[in-house]
Subunit: 308 residues, 2 copies
DNA sequence: CCCGAATATGGGAACGATGCCATACTGACG
DNA sequence: CGTCAGTATGGCATCGTTCCCATATTCGGG
């Protein structure tokens, strides 16, 4: 068709208000332009940032984002997976809580990319943080300051994100020749109430010799900060605090919080790019991209008050 | 069909991995189970919260959310509207930047609910904040403390949200018998850079007699706080600050920021409920729900240092 | 002026679910 | 035993697009 005719045609179609029916296209082509995106919780600015990156990238590539949040458990996740199958989404990006959903989707030929956590066993694409290194960096900073009894606040799941951070914590201690003490570890469950978590952190403060806390995500960092604040402890003199995720307020409080800064938006962008690449050439070897976090040193960390 | 047979049928379908094709259903029924959701910016925790509310409610009602962010201008919004038309979405929830998209959608029979801002003229459903009252409450608090020269940081659009807050600001001044001074108003454009906004706030501090600042959204509140912080001004002695949106850090900084707290999640929930109601009975009179914000008084506001 | 290639046009058939219709069947009751 | 309501079953058109094939039509080159 000649270019001029083509142009006039589109103009006419436009004038008539014609919009091609996506469902008819999907039906005929047996695939849609919608990508399923599942994240745990949009209230957590980390996940919100991930979605920002994902949505931008997919929109630019001409895809729609079908967003589902709050995948509490594996069963719920499978329900969501079925919805995506019904929608004939060619791809799904998920912060998984189990591996069933991913398996189900991939079995039906849906391309899946896991973000933030990597749970599927069988070579699923994933974009994750180098949690081990991130934790080691945070711990090295604290250890270099002379701390010897350092608490870890983490989430008690088998997700790679938290497991990796725990591993980094232990490894850093080991390398420094310090003992690992279970009493210094608080493992929150994903749906523990704020008050329960805060009580457990509060209890932690009773541990003799404790001079620093490493909070392994931004929610726990807030909880820790609040507990320390209420207890009237001064940072960093009474207690050092290293957080995870450089969310907006971390440099607004006094003193600023030293954190491991995750490139959250980039995590989302890369997951989306990887998905797009994978969708167009399905026989690439499975890729696991591992991004690096940077340590941002602020005022919440300093040498322990009474070095021994 | 008998209940027992029915059950066995579903079991069998399940076992075979049969999932009804949503696009075929959409095609035949001429409507889908997907709702279009458009918000300005997920990085802004206000919008993220709105989406949380919307998504929860719609998911519970068995709908999918097609999320689009970053509707910078009217033209882009119309493009998004066309996408929704192609998807045959029965409804759309939008924080609008113009009225064309809404008009186009409604003309094609799509139910639209505007959230946060109300731009469509012709009786479109909307769920918004009582911005006028919220601004008056904030100003009344400041005025009661004895402030007389109060700056306003706002967004220079014709959106109802910002216009309402500006109106409240002027009205409160008027009622207090104080003059309105244009030199005390900073109107940021939606895509001004952080540094430009901060420079303009910085310039504002030169205004003689200025003792308080009312920032009309959470982004501007951050910017104001940073400028004041860098200028070494102490809250509330050197300057009082009232913010908008009770985001997480507002009570973590020292002193805590006095804010007008928007019920963001609820705004989203209500918008979704209204949409659902409207979709099932299309001939209801147009509804505009107006939610109330509450003033949360913290340490950032106090009497001016030198009362006259 | 004619031939073959390139392009245009028109007509189906599919995609999978739905909903209607006609026909076949079941069982209860007169 | 016949009748009729109620239910089951199979067949078929439809939604709007895509894609293929069979005919038309155009155009440049011989």
């Amino acid at each position: 068709m000649a270019a001029a005719v083509r142009r006039r045609l589109f103009e006419a179609a436009d004038q008539l208000g014609y919009v091609p029916d996506a469902s008819a296209q999907t039906l005929k082509q047996r695939t849609s332009r919608a990508i399923g995106v599942v994240v745990s919780d949009l209230s957590d600015s980390f996940y919100a940032q991930v979605v920002v990156g994902v949505e931008q990238t997919l929109r630019d590539a001409g895809y729609q984002v079908v967003l589902v949040t709050d995948n509490k458990d594996s069963a719920q996740e499978v329900t969501v997976a079925r919805t995506f199958l019904a929608l004939r989404t060619p791809g799904v990006i998920i912060t998984p809580v189990g591996s069933e959903a991913t398996t189900l989707l991939r079995l039906q030929g849906v391309t899946v990319v896991e973000v933030d956590r990597q749970l599927a066993q069988d070579g699923c694409d994933a974009v994750i943080l180098d949690n081990e290194q991130a934790a080691i960096d945070a711990m090295s900073h604290i250890l270099a300051l002379g701390h010897e009894r350092i608490a870890l606040l983490t989430v008690g799941t088998d997700w790679t994100s938290d497991a990796g951070r725990q591993w980094g914590y232990r490894t850093a201690l080991e390398r420094a020749g310090l003992p690992f003490d279970d009493a210094l570890v608080v493992k929150a469950a994903p749906h523990d109430s704020e008050s329960l978590i805060e009580r457990r952190i509060r209890d932690l403060l009773g541990q003799p010799g404790l001079t620093a806390i490493f909070a392994a995500n931004n929610v726990l960092t807030v909880r820790a900060w609040r507990v320390l604040h209420r207890a009237g402890l001064r940072l960093p003199d009474d207690m050092s605090l290293v957080g995870f995720d450089d969310v907006a307020w971390m440099d607004m409080v006094t003193p600023g919080i030293t954190v491991v800064a995750q490139p959250a938006v980039d995590l989302g962008r890369r997951a989306a790019s990887l998905l797009l690449r994978r969708m167009e050439s399905r026989d690439l070897p499975p890729a696991v991209e591992r991004l690096h976090a940077g340590l941002v040193v602020r005022g919440s960390t300093g040498p322990p008050r009474k070095p021994r």
